[in-house]
């Protein structure tokens, strides 16, 4: 109990004094995870929707693979990205290992299947509802995907939020590919792991509260956005 109070106090202190390290780490966390979210969404939303409306030979296998990828342990993703980006790996020449870019890549790999899978579920329902109309209106594939994404945007937002939650709270993969380097690749989760290891429970908890607050804040912000939008048009 004492430690939790101390953690709260530490968090409060860090936040009100706008502690330089905390701000830097927090901004980096946001930058990495939001970048990953944008890239993953750009891939997963059209792909998940496309998967819902197209019938092709390996559709079932593709969906099964997608669901399996969703359960991929982040640490293993980190390891694979590490091997690919390490100096002797195929992309070693790019020199990306231990940079925020490497962390973004790992997070994209982790959350794209999740967002694609949630997208696919939601879009399958909407497509069943819209199917006859969109066929009748002679829509192109592109128009179908865009219509479904637009009209299903609320469900997709939820999917994206789930992806963001997973990304910002992830520690194993970014620890491996980022290296938790001070002033370069340290983010909230890796900092928490480090401080816990050093026995600085109060600071670790403080960072933990900031992390939770951040996740909640992003959730509220997006929900508030979707609510105002609903009021203005409906």
């Amino acid at each position: 109990m004492n430690e939790i109070w101390a953690g709260l106090l530490a968090a409060f202190h860090l936040i009100v004094t706008l502690d330089g390290d905390l701000v830097e780490i927090t901004l980096r966390s946001l930058q990495v995870s939001l970048s990953a979210l944008v890239i993953a969404s750009a891939l997963a939303l059209p792909f998940g929707t496309w998967l819902a409306i197209r019938r092709f030979r390996f559709r079932r296998a593709t969906i099964a693979t997608l669901n399996a990828l969703m359960g991929l342990p982040p640490v293993v993703v980190g390891l694979i990205v590490y091997l690919l980006l390490s100096r002797s790996g195929p992309f070693g020449v790019l020199g990306l290992l231990f940079t925020p870019t490497a962390m973004i890549i790992a997070q994209v790999v982790i959350i794209t299947p999740l967002i694609a899978s949630i997208t696919h579920q939601a879009m399958r329902e909407l497509w069943a509802e819209y199917h006859d109309l969109l066929i009748s209106l002679n829509t192109s594939n592109r128009q179908r995907v865009l219509t479904l994404i637009w009209d299903g945007r609320r469900a997709l937002l939820t999917g994206a939020l789930a992806g963001f939650g997973r990304a910002i709270g992830e520690v194993g993969a970014i620890m491996i590919v980022g290296g938790n380097i001070d002033n370069a690749t340290r983010v909230l989760t890796t900092a928490i792991a480090l401080e816990t290891g050093k026995g600085n429970f109060a600071l670790a908890l403080g960072l933990g509260f900031v992390l939770i607050a951040l996740a909640l804040l992003v959730n509220f912000a997006i929900h508030a956005l979707s609510r105002t939008e609903r009021h203005s048009t409906w």
Binding site: D132, S136, N138, T147, D151, W234
Partner: protein, 238 residues
């Protein structure tokens, strides 16, 4: 509009679902005098036939060939489904949607939308969320959304099923107007009074087969088959 004109050739048209044949096999030269009403008991295959003609239903076998060039192109056909499909958008946005697909400009779309919303009497709900409209309002919206495309052929699957007498009259007036203006209509209904008011010709379906066809007065006054006769008298046809 009294002469029958060939519009499509159906060759061995068959629709099977779960191993059961629900339509056909039909080989038939479909003719129309402008306003074709498809009649038949529940489950006869009316919806399936319309879907197959329009191409939203996958045929298990056979083919539909449109003989009249006016009917041939897919983009000249519009369909109002038995269960209205509402986009999760406002009434205004539902109406605008087909025109947006065609790339019309904003002003044009706005003019058309306001014109059609008035013709089907939906001015009062223009900015309401379409999936929450009443059943009758949904059907009016679906009709307007089909007509805004200025189709040469309009398919209607029981467009007045949820409507009261007054709304039915309004819809019938709109349908007569667009029909007179040159749009061919192919429509199903369970309302025999409506069929008599609107039909120029009739297709009578029974058990997935075209049982009898002809100009409306002939079919209604002197049906050739006992089943059609019984159906038009309001008897139950098995």
């Amino acid at each position: 509009m009294v002469a029958l004109v060939p519009i499509a050739t159906l060759k061995d048209v068959t629709v099977k679902r779960r191993g059961k044949t629900i339509l056909g096999p039909i080989s038939h030269g479909l003719e129309s005098a402008g306003f074709t009403i498809v009649l038949g008991p529940n489950g006869a295959g009316k919806t399936t036939l319309l879907n197959a003609l329009h191409g939203v239903e996958r045929l298990s076998d056979g083919s539909v060939t449109w003989t009249s060039p006016d009917h041939a192109s897919y983009k000249d056909q519009a369909f109002v489904f038995q269960r209205p499909i509402m986009l999760r958008r406002t009434v205004r946005q539902n109406l605008a949607y087909p025109l947006q697909l065609l790339g019309h400009n904003k002003n044009e779309i706005e003019t058309e939308v306001m014109d059609w919303v008035g013709r089907v009497g939906l001015n009062g709900v223009l900015d309401h969320f379409a999936p929450r409209l009443s059943g009758g309002e949904k059907q009016k919206l679906a009709l307007a959304r089909a007509l805004i495309q200025k189709p040469k052929v309009l398919f209607l699957d029981e467009p007045c099923a949820n409507l009261d007498g007054r709304s039915t009259r309004e819809i019938e007036t709109v349908l007569s107007e667009v029909n007179t203006a040159g749009t061919s209509v192919i429509m199903t209904t369970h309302d025999l009074g409506q069929a008599r008011r609107l039909a120029s010709d009739v297709v009578f379906l029974l058990n997935g087969q075209i049982h009898e066809t002809g100009l409306a007065p002939h079919v209604f006054e002197a049906p050739k088959t006992p089943e059609a006769k019984a159906f038009f008298q309001g008897d139950i046809v098995e």
